[in-house]
Subunit: 357 residues, 2 copies
């Protein structure tokens, strides 16, 4: 039954590509959202233009081989606005983001690189604060920024500071982590409340015209990921649900695995302030970015053990088992609401929260 | 005699730092020039803020260990203006630049990453051209872009497109390549005419108000570097003289090694158009950026062999032995002019050619 599913997914993708080619001639904010438009841009333009089958796997990390060593490399640019926000800044965010991509691929970090694009006139005191914050995030994780680059552009040619961090890691113990491996019956955990980062950023931008007491969750998930992988050999996959939020991450898993995913609305941890802010803005917290949360998919038999591992970590005390993989409807994510109804959770469309990371 | 030299260099650096702290409170274009101000920013702010001794080596590449494998990682952001220019574009430039950093560190590429920051409204046709060019540069070099990232910022928040490429390589045969290892008597080669890239960019910008028939030299130096390292065990160091040009690269070698370097003006290969354009603009071609030239330092006994190796490569047919390392004056680079005089070639100061890469 596996082939027809994949063919169907491919047809949907082809259709999306066609649509994308018909509608878009220039870059839009949605292309950077991490959702549907981002996927269309990558599948419809980036991968064909580069003629690159390896990139077509579209995962956050790539695997490399050097002699007998299995390496992992991941890269991300950070263009967040504002650059200082409750719970972090662009420097610590970049380090945490890169560490989390390595951790969710089962890799231990060997080193990070940091490339900076600075706007002429950017205060050196702000640069120092950002770098000290990045350095502190590295020290806590026991990793170093090993090389970097600095470019400067004129006033008005970038917005203060953009960072690009790349992480190189190695896989010391092999895990068959892969979104493809998720099977019906598997349970899905989240390490803490969803949507904190996105709401903290909106609050810092003054988008809501009110003071919020929400901090970004920006933090490494490395220790939780490491313990899960050490103690549960059959972890299917790990993800950090950043741009596009938990719903978009679950859609990627559903598309890659061909499973359906049912989310129990009552089991999704959401802070009251985050829920309130999202209601005000007409957003669903499941689509709001997180920067320190771990999604884990494990076989049902290991779900309780995984929950205990997450809750034993300071960063995972509010972890929950909140979703289940099912056989059908193929490739679909849906919410079982508290009132007993169901609602499809598609990938993020549009760009409701630009420059969130 | 080695200690006093290093102490003296350290005193000079301390003095530069002091000056930098007194004068600068915001980022200036010169901080991105690759010359003195860039060095002051990195040594005076970036390295102390990150508390990172490994970064303090200030080389373009960092070494990492994974099991028994020696890895090299290098990262660069590209903010060149214009993004399409005679002889290349931002896509091929980024790939060549990263390949050249790996090649000059003696590493073979394992894979590249590509992070894009796009301005809302950027034409997708231009993006496709840039990515096809990057893909073609990769194919020629037998390397792939293995993972990437896409961010979008609003109109006026970046200038069309910025790319950051990171290269991961491995060192299969160990060479003690290091600027520290350069010794008095060593000879220095350049693989071709200097200044082509910078002059081509200025021409494309219309800075000179005249049509120029100069193409950027943007190209990989990998095959020349590989053959030099295969055939000459005692190569001291390789460099690609990009921002700040050949003079700045030689100053780095002089500072790190404690040697003096004498450049024979008559032996510096410069195209007539490049020389003419530089005269018009009051620039010295030795400070103008190259993107496909290889600087090699070898013991005198191997200089002729190295020259033959370079000249046997299509990219190195105009190679020359153009400079010599000497014992004194310590850490200084100077030009022996065709008329028999001498002139000190300091590191690049200021930012005469912003956004050259």
């Amino acid at each position: 039954m596996n082939e027809p599913l994949l063919e169907r997914i491919e047809r949907v993708r082809q259709a999306q590509r066609g649509k994308y080619y018909l509608n878009d001639t220039v870059v839009s904010m949605a292309h950077g959202s991490g959702g549907k438009s981002s996927q269309a841009l990558i599948e419809g333009l980036v991968v064909p233009a580069l003629h690159n089958p390896e990139l077509a796997r579209l995962e956050d990390c790539a695997r490399l081989q050097a002699g007998g060593q299995r390496l992992v490399v991941t890269t991300d640019s950070y263009v967040i606005d504002p650059i200082f926000f409750p719970g972090g800044d662009i420097g610590s965010l970049a380090v945490h983001g890169t560490l989390n991509d390595l951790a969710t691929s089962g890799a231990e970090p060997l080193g990070l690189t940091l490339a900076m694009i600075l706007e002429e006139g950017f205060p050196l005191d702000s640069l120092r604060r950002i770098l000290e914050s990045a350095g502190e995030a590295c020290r806590r994780a026991g990793v170093s920024i090993v090389t970097g680059d600095t470019k400067v552009v004129g006033r008005g040619k970038c917005d203060q500071i953009f960072l690009t961090t790349t992480g190189v890691g190695w896989i010391r113990v092999s895990h068959q982590l892969s979104m493809d491996s998720v099977q019906p019956g598997d349970r899905i955990l989240i390490s803490g409340p969803v949507g904190d980062h996105g709401v903290a950023i909106m609050g810092a931008r003054g988008d809501m015209g009110l003071e919020l007491d929400v901090l970004s969750d920006s933090a490494p998930v490395s220790s939780m990921a490491r313990r899960l992988l050490e103690e549960i050999a059959s972890v299917r996959c790990l993800k950090d649900p950043t741009r596009g939020g938990v719903a978009t991450a679950l859609n990627e898993i559903a598309q890659k695995s061909g499973c359906a995913i049912a989310v129990e609305e009552g089991q999704v941890p959401v802070r009251a302030e985050v829920r309130g802010a999202c209601e005000l803005l007409g957003l669903d917290p499941l689509y709001v970015a997180n920067e320190g949360r771990l999604l884990a998919v494990v076989p049902e038999a290991f779900a309780q053990q995984a929950l205990e591992i997450l809750q034993a970590d300071e960063a995972g005390r509010e972890a929950r088992i909140f979703a289940t993989a099912l056989a059908e409807p193929v490739g679909t994510v849906y919410l079982r609401t508290s009132l007993g109804g169901t609602r499809v959770l598609d990938m993020l469309a549009g760009a409701p929260l630009p420059r969130i990371c």
